[in-house]
Amino acid sequence: MQRMFMRRVGLALLLMLAATALTFWLVTAAPGNVAALIAERAAGAGADGEMIAKIADDLGLNDPLPVRYARWLGDALTGDFGVSLRTGKPMAEEFAERIPMTLALLAGGGVLALVLSLAMGIAGAASNGGIVDRVLHGLALVGASTPNFFFAAMLVIVFSVWLGMVPTFGVAGLTSWLLPWITIALFPASVLARVVRVNMQDTMSRPFATTGFAKGLTRSAVLLREALPNIAIPYMTTFGAQFTLMIIGAIVVERVFGLNGVGAFFIEAIRFRDFIGMQAILTLFVVFFVSINLLVDLLAMLADPRLRRPRKA
């Protein structure tokens, strides 16, 4: 268990290293010249080749790629992600302002996806082919195939424009969070509801479920007490994957609902060819992906008695 844990953590660190190196290479290889951009900002149209070359030299942009990556990594490890080419503010400051916004979006969406998917999946399994099961199955299919920008637009039209219940833009109080949370939770909730339903069905036909009935449990008790613990592990794994994907959803949702999170910043960074900003945000995404997956793997290990308490020889 401990060795497995250490291996998993080591793997996660390696993955972060590889992924940041890859993004660093991709971002620097993208068309556009950081030195030229900086020169333009400083001197407007008056920037000449000599000035650009000097800036490039000062920034070490002419060094070989591995050297530049190593320098970037060293800075990043001390919390220095450079200065945004677009806003002129250190990325660390941008992070401090924007990460809470994105985290609130992801956390609320994650909780909503968790609650909805468990409720839908369990209700479907309880109905077992009945009308509730079929309606929920249909909803999950629709939910999993509705693009989030379209869904967001529908929500805004109905709840903000028609009913005037929530603001169309920006955040002011809890109600304004509802539409972004619902939007970002739609896809993961739909996928996860199916995961719960399908695994429940599989588990309910296993011999230990029959033992549950033989113990005198009612069907709903077998569902909740015998089957549910057994779907915990596949559920956690899929939840982790879906939760990390929500960061992609956040890019769209933050734009649509006018939230100043890292997703919105990322779009702007691309538009303004803010390479520094892009690399910083991508690094953040990588760290998020890898650490959520690591966390989920470790939780799944803890949830499984076969891994938590391996059999003594």
Partner: protein, 340 residues
């Protein structure tokens, strides 16, 4: 042989027909079969794989795996109460408290995510009316009684931490925790090592003696039948071919299928002159049932009328335990008369 033959049956099934439907096949798994078991008695149900032993015994209790649609007709009574018309809640209570079930493979029949002991304690609390504290003590003593060493330690173990034999003992303890009146053991030793098999059978026998409960032992093991059973029912393709006291059925079998089954068991009877031989052929396809005797295609004695008329199960002999056989041909040939 039957120690309590004066007692009425405690679990009794009559004229049971069970059709199973899956998206691909429909099967008449049980076709007008029945059985009964009295308190203090052990009934063995034998028959080839697929003959319907499990479906017949557990089907009326609603203990067939999910994913198969079940159509069930006939009568089934537990302690005189009609099971088939019970509400789901009443049936759940009956399953938990009145019946105890031991399944074939303890590795898959015990929930891998649940500790062993607390499940026993819960049964004792819910069905034997014990307090939480008493129930835990009872669970530990049940584990001990089932032959599990260091039961306090095992109480908090998960299934994967126990060996197959120990798990089957835990399964037995679980089945007994509610203090059931009928213990159903569905091939309780098939998944276990040969050395462990005898121990498990001895344990079931001991429990049966001590508690005086009714035991239904579903098995392929004729040796186990001869040691444990008071009565035997032989099932073939969803029908009862022969039933009676273990002595009658094992030493004076009448039905050609029973005779074939016993002849295929090595060293079952030392006077077995023909040596062991398998019954040729395979059981009929229960998805397409022909009229007449199910055994006709494999029977050496088959007559034309066997294929058109289903042989009735009739009483032969006049012993205190009814011996019934569904083969008029052998009866006629050997001058066996009906005692109905």
């Amino acid at each position: 042989m039957s120690r309590h033959s004066q007692n009425g049956p405690i679990y009794e099934v009559e004229g049971l027909v069970i059709d199973l439907y899956t998206p691909t096949v429909s099967v008449r798994a049980v076709d007008g079969a029945g059985f009964y078991v009295a308190p203090g008695e052990t009934l063995a149900i034998v028959g080839e794989s697929g003959s319907g032993k499990t479906v017949m015994t557990l089907g009326p209790l609603g203990l067939l795996p999910e994913g198969v649609a079940v159509d069930l007709r006939g009568t089934a009574r537990a302690d005189g109460k009609d099971i088939l018309s019970m509400s789901p809640t009443d049936l759940s209570r009956l399953r938990g408290g009145f019946f105890g079930v031991i399944f074939q493979d303890p590795m898959s029949a015990l929930n891998p995510m649940l500790k062993i002991g607390p499940q026993l304690a819960e049964q004792a609390r819910r069905f034997a009316g014990l307090s939480a504290e008493e129930a835990k003590k009872e669970a530990v003593s049940l584990l001990a009684r089932s032959g599990i060493p260091d039961p306090e330690d095992r109480y908090d173990r998960y299934p994967h931490e126990l060996s197959g034999g120990m798990l089957q003992r835990a399964m037995i303890a679980l089945a007994l925790a509610a203090r059931p009146r009928v213990l159903i053991a569905d091939e309780p030793t098939t998944a276990l090592d040969a050395t462990v098999q005898a121990q498990i059978l001895a344990l079931i026998r001991q429990i049966q003696k001590e508690d005086g409960i009714a035991v239904i032992l579903i098995t392929h093991d004729i040796g186990a039948v001869s040691v444990l059973a008071d009565r035997v029912a032989v099932l073939y393709a969803g029908q009862v071919a022969e039933e009676g006291s273990a002595i009658d059925v094992l030493t004076a079998p009448v039905h050609p299928y029973t005779r074939g089954l016993l002849a295929s068991v090595p060293d079952f009877r030392s006077n077995n002159a023909t040596g062991t031989k398998e019954i040729p052929g395979i059981p009929p396809n229960q998805a397409q049932l022909e009229p007449g005797c199910r055994f006709a295609d494999r029977c050496e004695l088959v007559q034309p009328q066997c294929r058109t008329h289903r042989p009735p199960l009739v009483k032969v002999g006049a012993g205190p335990v009814p011996h019934r056989v569904a083969c008029p041909v052998v009866m006629a040939a050997e001058g066996i008369v009906t005692h109905d």
